[in-house]
């Protein structure tokens, strides 16, 4: 492409991303960009002046146009302490205390009122998936579907929900009734997925007793999100946390979409090979955004494994990684700054757009 063609390409690429003011993005190839930004900016100046005159923000960005359709947080919560056991509350506060959370979040399950949380989400996102939790077996805690339903009704365009399921009873038998419950969540409440927490339920995700549940989710065409990652809860044993066991499930259910929450920390490498082998798997980067160098290196690895297009932005808020906007912004700019400073390859505009929403939109069909 010649100089003028490149300029024209950039010139006409307007994009408005809610909730920011109108922007004019100038997309140029990198040598041209360095000339504009580091050099005289001749080519850009008249264009910028015109845009500024029209009240449009001018951004100089990477060398490919943004394709971002929606910003999606694929993993958020809504809490109420009345549904939780004392043991679970103590465990979660202790866990939050190990993270750079605000002090309120270390004392209150819901650190801000529900309305404020909704505003936080609205300000930063186009879609948010609210994840239910059922860890009755070991932690005596269940956030009921009804409670999630009330919340998502507050902004049905923004909010979607997944139901939390505890699939085994105290004697390690499969709870047949969960099949009906999941069906009800989907058909009656319009929920879009299931959340399982093997590490907090003390079971392996590839336990064959769970297979009827996986079949049900396949029938209903809904994804399952797994907490297969570390946990600092006492009684949540790490042997159940290693995401490697999901390989067998993915091979046995190649059509069932399954997600690994929290980038399967600390097993990012295992996640990458799991995704490379199984195209039905995805990863969310909720909570671990607190460890930016680790996430950046995980994303580098995902890029090298060719699986970056199945990694989704997520926060795990409101208890952690709040305000959401701050973490959206980190993905937009902070990630590449970190990579650049470390001498690592940077991510293209398309890859960042994918991470922030496009990947989830495509893969989950939002």
């Amino acid at each position: 492409m010649g100089f003028w063609e490149q300029m024209l390409l950039g010139f006409f690429h307007f994009r408005r991303i809610s909730p920011q003011p109108a922007q004019l993005k100038l997309y140029t190839s990198s040598p041209l960009r360095s000339h504009w930004l580091g050099g005289s900016k001749k080519g850009a100046s008249s264009l910028s002046l015109l845009a500024i005159h029209k009240g449009i923000t001018v951004l100089f960005t990477g060398n490919s146009p943004s394709t971002l359709t929606m910003i999606v947080d694929t993993h958020v919560h809504i809490w109420d302490e009345k549904y939780c056991s004392r043991e679970m509350l103590d465990a979660i506060f202790a866990h939050r205390a190990t993270l750079p959370t605000d002090s309120t979040a270390q004392r209150r399950l819901m650190p801000i009122p529900m309305e404020a949380w909704l505003e936080d989400l609205r300000g930063a996102l186009d879609k948010a998936i609210v994840i239910g939790i059922d860890i009755t077996r070991v932690f005596g805690t269940r956030i009921p579907d009804q409670f999630l339903l009330e919340f998502i009704k507050m902004d049905p365009d923004l909010l979607l929900a997944y139901t939390g399921v505890e699939p085994l009873d105290e004697n390690n038998n499969f709870k047949e009734e969960v099949l009906d419950e999941v069906e009800k969540s989907v058909n009656e409440y319009g929920f879009k997925g299931v959340k399982l927490m093997p590490v907090h339920g003390n079971y392996y995700a590839n336990n064959k007793k769970l297979y009827p549940l996986y079949e049900k989710c396949l029938d209903l065409r809904i994804p399952i999100l797994f907490h297969l990652a570390g946990s600092s809860f006492p009684k949540a044993m790490l042997k159940y946390a290693d995401p490697i066991v999901l390989d067998e499930v993915a091979v046995d259910f190649p059509e069932l979409r399954m997600g690994l929450a929290h980038f399967g920390y600390p097993w990012a490498e295992t996640c990458c090979v799991l995704l490379q082998r199984n195209r039905n798997l995805f990863v969310d980067i909720s909570e671990v955004l607190y460890r930016p160098r680790w996430v950046a290196s995980g994303l580098q690895l995902a890029k090298e494994y060719g699986v970056l297009d199945r990694i989704f932005f997520a926060t795990d808020g409101p208890g952690v990684c709040r305000p959401v906007e701050k973490y959206v912004e980190w993905c937009r700019t902070g990630l590449n700054e970190l990579c650049k400073n470390s001498g690592l390859p940077t991510f293209t505009q398309g890859e960042i757009d994918g991470l922030l929403g496009d990947n989830a939109v495509k893969f989950l069909g939002l």
């Binding site: 091979v251 199984n278 090298e304």
Partner: protein, 305 residues
């Protein structure tokens, strides 16, 4: 052979022939090549992407002075087998250049040890002059530390040949990741301290585990074949190997002719790109002895060739 410090050994190559592959395996292997990175388009269509003469010429032109060629027995799950005698014929064509390794599928359909493999291995060594054995636990759905395999390890010890194991996953369905991790080799290395045990593909993605295993067991080594498609990961792995002080048991390999080509580019990655990446990241760099070690000196010291 007389060894000079700057000679290059490719410790991991193959010879392919589609008549020996099941349709299922072949499709998966080609699909893996498509996904792994920038691969010769011919290699995404044909298991053997170029004639063997051209392949050997490419190796030699890149400065390789010895290449280990591995037989490939995946009978149990994938009904695919590049047999020892096929490899032996190929080695006979280039006796000064190629070193053959046999391959065995040690368990039968019901998970019982196949006693016949003991004779096969003996034949491979005594008749074909092979210098090692390749096992594929990950493709065979068995764990490398399955006690049923111990007679085979004993046989290798007796024949004084190394065992190279594929404990590192690719894209194949039906091959579960739980059999793909290098960690079970801890048990094997403990029970057979005299047996040389190789981990192919740097146990990718579990390079950290490999470093730990090598630190613990002086009889374990790794080859870095196939990992060139993920340069940041490989650089990081080599930095870790340096920090664990096990870099002198890291061996160069391409995994060619399907992957790791052009060979010259792969060799040059180690010679120049590796240090460029390390320096750019502010990490320690590798000196000439360390790089020569990976390229050939380590293999010459560790392996019978």
């Amino acid at each position: 052979m007389r060894w000079q410090n700057n000679m290059i050994i490719d410790a991991h190559t193959h010879i392919w022939d589609e008549t020996y592959a099941s349709k299922e395996y072949l499709e998966e292997a080609l699909s893996h090549r498509k996904r792994v990175g920038d691969v010769d388009p011919a290699a995404t269509k044909h298991w053997m992407p170029l004639p063997r003469e051209a392949w050997v010429a490419e190796l030699k032109e890149a400065g390789i002075e010895k290449a280990i060629v591995l037989a490939f027995d995946l009978t149990r799950v994938f009904k695919t087998k590049i047999p020892d005698d096929f490899v032996a014929d190929y080695v006979k064509e280039y006796p000064d250049f190629l070193v053959g390794y046999g391959s065995a599928e040690p368990l039968d359909d019901v998970g019982k040890f196949k006693k016949s493999v003991l004779d096969d291995v003996e034949k491979a060594v005594n008749e074909y002059g092979f210098k090692g054995l390749k096992l594929y636990p990950w493709y065979g759905n068995y764990s490398a530390d399955d006690k049923a395999l111990y007679p085979l390890y004993e046989k290798c010890l007796e024949l004084k040949i190394p065992v190279l194991l594929h404990v590192s996953p690719e894209n194949l369905p039906k091959a579960y990741l739980q059999y793909g991790t290098p960690l079970p080799l801890d048990n094997v290395a403990t029970d057979f301290p005299g047996l040389k045990i190789g981990i192919a593909h740097f146990g990718s993605p579990w390079m950290t585990e490999c470093c730990l295993l090598m630190q613990k067991h002086p009889n374990i080594y790794v080859d870095i074949s196939e990992t060139f498609y993920r340069p940041t990961q490989l650089t990081w792995g080599l930095i870790m190997a340096k920090e664990y002080r096990v870099l002198n048991r890291i061996l160069f390999g391409t995994d060619g002719p399907g992957l790791g080509r052009p060979v010259k580019k792969t060799v040059n990655w180690l010679k120049t790109d590796l240090n460029r990446l390390s320096r750019g990241s502010g990490w320690p760099t590798f000196d000439q002895d360390e790089i020569n070690g990976i390229l050939g000196a380590n293999a010459a010291r560790i392996l019978p060739l």
